[in-house]
Amino acid sequence: MTILELKNVSVAFGGVKAIESVSFSMEHGEVLSIVGPNGAGKTTLFNLISKIYDLDSGSIIFNDIELKETRPHEIAKLGIARTFQNTELFEHESVLNNLLIGCHVHTGTNLVDELFFLRKAQDQELVFRKNAENIIDLLDLQSYRNTKIVSLPFGIRKLVEIGRALCLKPKLVLLDEPSSGLNPEETEDLVFQIEDIKEELGISILMIEHDMNLVSKTSDRVLALADGKVLTIGKSQEVQEHPQVIKAYLG
């Protein structure tokens, strides 16, 4: 079952063709990594899927819905969550609050329920809290539960951001360089965490990643991108040995 499909997607900024007729599709439950040199258009691709930019041509179909007029804030409700390379968190809030706000996309209460904290709001708060605690356990964030983001090291912030994305209960999560800024030990843990997200939560993962070790250990398939075009897509080993990929990296 296909969860995400890109058909001939192109976007240009002025005269720069950032993405040029990119097509690929992703299966439900798959981990697909995007690799490529700097400026290949990897993050642009993410920004297209999450609707920060509009397409010039082509189409993006997520879960049988074409993302055409979708606004960026509607992406979460459809079931796509994302993280950013340099993290975008609510820095003056605790880890728990950052996760809880991720849950709120599924809110079923109205202003009156909340103002008077009616039964419905209470029940919902319990469900959200339980959901957040599950994610805290999954990512081993217990000791940081009440710490404000500003006082956390970068590696933990990256995990919190992944956690917040998971709290949205997405079908697909876009991870932008999850290992950048992590130490080798944290990167090693990330391998298992990505497996858990895939196996335990059944969430498909599309990630941009440079660490080839992490890519080979976690990805079902790898897509190589250079100058806005797809070079090849396939098993990690095949992609790494592909002559054009080697050429793109080494010039």
């Binding site: 804030h73 409700k77 609510f90 820095e91």
Partner: protein
């Protein structure tokens, strides 16, 4: 002599407190919009003036019952605030801050001209059920309108605090003010939040206008106390709502005492003197979370 002085001080403290509450409320309006959009709305004082005039129109011209007129004026101003955001501010997203600032100054002119055109420049007085009545004890005279100002401010601030703490909308507003990109990707419509912020901010200003109307008459120029409220917002630490109220109180009370102890005319510049002193000794204000936002 000592007793008389004490009485006078108490009296000044009370009028300073109520004047300060009004500054504080307008300052909160500044802060709300600044936190949500990083823009300073220099028409904040004029929104207050317009709100007071609307209340005057509903109550004194259309003969609405006081409470109904009050609510109608506040709701109408909330609507006007949301419309300003939608049609004057939102199209300016991505433009330099200075251009947006010029727009808000321009909006101030428009509101003053409009008010002059509709209601004329004659000062008007808002009929309230409590105007002119006083409490008197131990020689201290407290006007009911002063008490209403303080109580009204307290009630409004508690309501706001409660709203931000308990409701999803309040939490979403805080989230969007901390990080718009992140807010968008947890499913918060930042545009909608900005409209709501402007609506709330205009409603608060209108409330301030209605509260102060019985004390100082309404005319198209009363919006200029917005400049003093701006000073109050900075003194409080631009970006903190409780700070805005505290800043307002300091300036309100400071003004009254400057009127007593300093030569005539000084009370008018007290707000700015306090502002400059604050900038010298504690540039980030009394209460503030110094935060550097990623642009």
């Amino acid at each position: 002599m000592a007793l008389e002085e004490k009485l006078e001080h108490t009296q000044l403290l009370i009028s300073g407190l109520s004047q300060g509450c009004v500054y504080g409320l307008i300052a909160s309006g500044f802060v709300l919009i600044y936190k949500a959009t990083e823009m300073v709305n220099f028409a904040q004082g004029d929104l207050m003036m317009f709100g007071a005039f609307l209340a005057y129109t509903f109550i004194s011209i259309f003969n609405f019952p006081f409470a109904l007129g009050l609510v109608a004026a506040i709701l109408a101003m909330a609507g006007i605030g949301a419309l300003i955001e939608r049609f004057a501010i939102r199209p300016m997203i991505g433009e330099p801050h200075f251009s947006v600032l010029m727009i808000t100054i321009g909006l101030g002119f428009i509101f003053r001209a409009l008010a002059g055109f509709i209601w004329g420049s004659e000062p008007r007085s808002l009929k309230t059920p409590y105007a002119g009545k006083v409490f008197e004890f131990d020689g201290i005279i407290i006007g009911h309108e002063n008490i209403i100002i303080v109580l009204g401010t307290l009630a409004l601030c508690s309501a706001l605090a409660f709203f931000f703490k308990t409701t999803n909308l309040g939490k979403a507003m805080q989230a969007a003010s901390q990080n718009q990109l992140a807010a968008m990707y947890v499913g918060i419509s930042v545009k909608k939040i900005n409209s709501i912020t402007w609506a709330i901010s205009a409603a608060i200003s209108a409330t301030a206008g209605i509260l102060i109307a019985p004390v100082s008459l309404i005319d198209p120029q009363i919006g200029f106390i917005g400049v003093k409220a701006f000073a109050a917002a900075i003194v409080g630490g631009f970006g903190s709502l409780p700070g805005a109220i505290i800043g307002g109180l300091i300036i309100g009370i400071g003004e009254q005492f400057a009127g007593l102890y300093l030569p005539p005319g000084f009370s008018e510049v007290t707000a700015y003197a306090i502002l400059l002193t604050m900038l010298l000794i504690r540039p980030h204000g009394i209460l503030t979370s110094v935060q550097i936002k990623k642009m």
